[in-house]
């Protein structure tokens, strides 16, 4: 592998891993609070759609990003209302939302832009940390990225800090492991869980925007194509800890990057095998083959007072 190829590989691993990292961090917070959102996929797709249409309509990618974030709110609130207030099966509601969003965004996109539209949509600006962008070979390939990538890294670190070291984080974790105790202490389990689901929605929308207006500058029908499920797999593989989850996302990103890299290097590995790898790894993880899995004890269980 030449230096140049290595640089491209590292750069694209980061770029492909980032949306997973954003969505998985959001989902992890919600799962720690006891709510499983199968709808991460749908929330990402909503964000990608809102961001793309918003950026196209206003001509401003920043406004697009804002519109993507607002567009996800009804979806996140629907998930929260169904699974927390109505105590519906969290998995079933998540799958329902994914089907609804896939149908809805497909119809809406065709209505607004036409079926096989390949309009270039204004995308988020690229940025590189001062100094790092000028390094020969590596600078451009690795560090010149959408600014959302750097903002995303900051967000992930912030989320990890809040979850571990603050009262809010303690409340979130307690709601997922000892909801009754939280209720007795006077804090509303319902409110904390609603908040966590909305956070998942916002992070997933950011991830979706990263795909549509950050990375490829266009929207295609069902463009998330299972990325939301990969984020869920990363949380499982990460054993509900942020550090490990982020590493899993990077690894999944690298596996995806390899699909494009290996043929260029003349190595012939079936693409399907590389795409399958993250799911297989997550399966091995949930099968308890890599250490004990410690899911939050009230994950997927509605709280009945």
């Amino acid at each position: 592998m030449t230096d140049e190829m290595a640089a491209v590989f590292v750069g694209s691993s980061l770029r492909l891993g980032m949306p997973l990292m954003l969505a998985a961090t959001g989902e992890l917070v919600s799962e720690r609070a006891g709510v499983l959102n199968m709808s991460v996929e749908g929330m990402m797709l909503t964000g990608a759609f809102g961001g793309a249409i918003g950026a196209w309509a206003t001509g401003s990618p920043m406004l697009g990003l804002a519109i993507g974030l607002v567009a996800v709110l009804p979806v996140a609130l629907l998930q929260a209302w169904l699974s927390i207030t109505l105590r519906a099966n969290q998995i079933v509601t998540g799958i329902g939302i994914n089907i609804l969003v896939l149908g809805g965004t497909t119809v809406a996109y065709r209505e607004i832009l036409g079926r096989h539209n390949r309009t270039e949509i204004p995308g988020l600006a690229r940025w590189s940390p001062p100094g790092l962008g000028d390094i020969a070979v590596w600078g451009d390939a690795v560090f010149r990225q959408t600014w959302l990538l750097y903002a995303g890294l900051v967000l992930v670190v912030l989320a990890a800090w809040v979850l571990r070291d603050t009262a809010v984080g303690l409340a979130v974790r307690a709601v997922g492991s000892e909801p009754r105790a939280v209720d007795k202490s006077g804090l509303s389990v319902t409110r904390v869980r609603y908040g966590a689901v909305v956070f998942t929605g916002l992070m997933s929308a950011l991830a979706g925007c990263f795909l549509s207006i950050g990375d490829i500058h266009t929207f295609t029908e069902g463009m998330t194509n299972g990325a939301g499920y990969l984020a869920l797999a990363a949380v499982i593989f990460g054993n509900w800890k942020i550090g490990r989850t982020v590493l899993a996302c990077l690894f999944f990103g690298a596996a995806t990057a390899l699909q494009f890299q290996l043929p260029a290097m003349g190595v012939n590995v079936p693409t399907a095998l590389l795409i399958m790898l993250p799911y297989l790894m997550a399966l091995v993880a949930v099968g308890g083959l890599v250490g004990r899995q410690t899911a939050p004890s009230y994950l997927t269980r509605a709280y009945v007072r």
Partner: protein, 364 residues
């Protein structure tokens, strides 16, 4: 006397179940109305869209037969869902079970010498291979659940993705199932399976392509209904589903039951794959399972644990799919409208499930 008591129980049961049936019907109607509103919003005239829908769903004997064939695959996945549900297990892996079923049936039909066998075996053996493959795929989730306590929803979903990509890989590689590449335009799909391995049609008239799968599926539905409602086995499953700890104390062996139940659910998914290959598509393509697994899951949900409910919901979705495809072709309405309708149905049913369950407990 006992028959009188039996009738009384049955009556009480049907009253108890009424809110569920009512909610299902209301959900389907409300979702359909939303779909129609969407059609209006798109600017297609509703009568035109409906005419295209009806034409595709039941406008000709061919359309009816095609819709029913679609419904069969959905019914099988739905039956598997309901069996698993009885033991309080949720099988969301239909998509992958269909995929491995399709792979196994294709492999045996093309390269396993099935076409040389006498007639019922020539199509029966590939079907059996699909059943076994799907069953094993389901049983993996069962073993993980029994040994490591892995949530079967997560494992069946992950297994689905793995299976779908195995399918993709196997039609991409000539060493596996891809047809020999004679020129650059050769599509990444398998050869067409030989005629003797295809499911025989019920009528000699090729205009109504109803195949023998209809009889097989109905027989399976009957057996399932009897097993779930009238057998000790069905009662045991219910006991395990309601309270595994109490069931274990009563001497039932939980782990083998879990593995068997998920094997059966997977086997039915695999059989659905065989139906789709041998009764309809004829060759294995990358997008072979095309959402039938998730549709089958919805069918199982709609049925709320009842076998006749599965058949009704499967028929509904079979016709809905056929109509939706034709609506896109003839009236220019994206078939994604049907996805919206399906999504709404799932959400309405899921959202009201808790309310219905609490009512049931109240009337008991």
């Amino acid at each position: 006397m006992s028959s009188l008591a039996g009738t009384a129980t049955l009556l009480r049961q049907s009253v108890r179940d009424r809110p569920a049936i009512l909610v299902s019907i209301v959900a389907v109607i409300a979702a359909t109305l939303c779909g129609m509103a969407l059609v209006v919003g798109i600017g297609v005239s509703v009568p035109k869209a409906l005419a295209a829908f009806a034409d595709g769903a039941w406008g000709s004997p061919y359309a009816v037969a095609a819709s029913i064939n679609r419904a069969l695959a959905l019914a099988l996945v739905g039956l598997g869902f309901v069996i698993a549900q009885r033991a309080n297990l949720t099988n969301v892996g239909g998509e992958g079970q269909i995929a491995v079923g399709g792979i196994a049936a294709t492999a045996v039909a093309l390269y396993g010498g099935a076409s040389a066998l006498p007639v019922p075996l020539s199509f029966g053996v590939p079907m059996l291979a699909a059943v076994v493959a799907g069953g094993i795929w389901g049983a993996i989730a069962g073993v993980l659940k029994a040994k490591a306590g892995t949530n079967e929803v997560i494992s069946t979903l992950l297994l689905s993705f793995v299976a779908v990509w195995i399918l993709y890989g196997s039609v991409q590689s000539e060493a596996l199932l891809r047809q020999p590449m004679t020129n650059t335009a050769t599509l990444p799909e398998s050869l067409e399976i030989p005629d003797p391995t295809k499911l025989p049609l019920l009528s000699a008239n090729a205009d109504t392509p109803l195949h023998v799968g209809l009889l097989i599926a109905l027989a399976i539905a009957l057996v399932t209904a009897i097993a779930l409602e009238r057998s000790v086995w069905g009662l045991r499953l219910r006991a395990i589903g309601l309270n595994p700890v109490a069931a274990r104390r009563a001497g039932m062996r939980i782990a083998p039951a879990i593995v068997l139940v998920l094997f059966l659910a997977g086997a039915l998914g695999g059989l659905a794959g065989a139906f789709m290959l041998q009764g309809d598509q004829g060759s294995l393509k990358a997008r072979f399972s095309s959402g039938y697994g998730f549709d089958g899951l919805v069918v199982g949900l709609l049925a709320r644990g009842s076998v006749p409910g599965v058949l009704a919901a499967a028929a509904l979705f079979g016709f809905l799919r056929s109509g939706g495809i034709n609506m896109e072709l003839e009236a220019g309405v994206p078939s994604a409208v049907v996805l919206v309708i399906q999504g709404l149905i799932i959400l309405m049913l899921a959202g009201t499930a808790f309310w219905i369950d609490s009512r049931k407990e109240g009337t008991r």
